[in-house]
């Protein structure tokens, strides 16, 4: 955790639609605070413009005959509301940035995940191959 080269972290915001309960003034205030938070990060080169997600969509799962269901649903606290990529040297700095998110005062969570330099599948396959090579072939 002592490297200084910027890494990328994905911040995932999860909330229900808490902002619907706010008054006009409260909404205006939190919007301005959020805008300032992201604006400062972008100006400092520590974040890229994020995306807000509509509270609709679909989920696809299953094998060859895949199933499609609507959702996620607006009322879910687990639904992802938006994402932001931050470019900072350490996970600690990414956490500090997440803690400063103004919306958190109304609840919800921010998940912070390091973005991989390579596909984790390939890394896993390589590690397994190395392990296999350490095991004598003829036992």
């Amino acid at each position: 955790m002592s490297q200084t080269k910027p890494n990328s972290y994905l911040l995932l915001s999860r909330t229900d639609e808490w902002y619907r309960q706010l008054s006009h003034d409260e909404l205006q205030q939190i919007l301005a605070a959020n805008k300032a938070w992201v604006g400062q990060l972008i100006a400092a080169g520590k974040a890229r413009p994020g995306v807000a997600l509509a509270r609709s969509g679909a989920t696809v799962f299953g094998g060859n005959k895949s199933t499609v269901v609507d959702g996620p649903y607006a009322e879910s606290k687990e639904a992802i509301g938006g994402t932001l990529i931050v470019d900072v040297a350490t996970l600690e700095e990414a956490i500090t940035i997440a803690k400063a998110c103004p919306s958190l005062r109304y609840g919800g969570t921010i998940e912070i995940r390091p973005i991989s330099g390579e596909c984790p599948l390939e890394a896993c396959a390589r590690a397994l191959k190395q392990t296999e090579q350490l095991v004598p072939a003829a036992v």
Partner: protein
């Protein structure tokens, strides 16, 4: 299902550590297929980018800013990565999601329209309209 959206779609891959049961060769095959899928979508101008995520990280919660660990490795809901699609309809985004090479291994693909602006801005506008009505 077919509401047009010119802002694109985020497709999110969710799963537990599904590939841990595969042989290195199988894993490499799925990884190659996934990369080929991504590159094809980019070549077709349907994908603006994407990233895999490490199965680690932290969660910051609520007004008290409580910091906690995952779990990211075991949960079936864990997000493993995402693509940003530049297609115009949910139908097309879903049809792309159906080609995900991880689906036979239990990966779930969430397809979400990108909002033109923060939904809080919409809420504020709605409240202002109400006040002027």
């Amino acid at each position: 299902m077919s509401t047009p959206n010119k802002n694109g779609y985020l497709i999110i891959f969710r799963s537990a550590d599904w590939y841990k049961g595969l042989s290195p060769e199988q894993m490499q095959q799925v990884a190659d297929n996934w990369m080929a899928w991504f590159n094809r979508l980019k070549d077709e101008g349907k994908c603006a980018g994407g990233n895999p995520l490490e199965r680690e990280g932290k969660i910051v919660s609520g007004a008290n800013r409580v910091v906690s660990d995952g779990p990211f490795a075991e949960s079936k809901e864990t997000i493993g990565g995402y693509f940003l699609l530049t297609v115009n309809s949910l139908d097309e985004a879903v049809s792309i999601a159906k080609d995900c090479p991880g689906l036979p291994y239990g990966v779930r693909v969430e397809v979400r329209p990108i909002a033109p602006q923060c939904p809080m801005v919409d809420e504020l506008a709605a409240k202002e309209n109400l006040a002027h009505a």
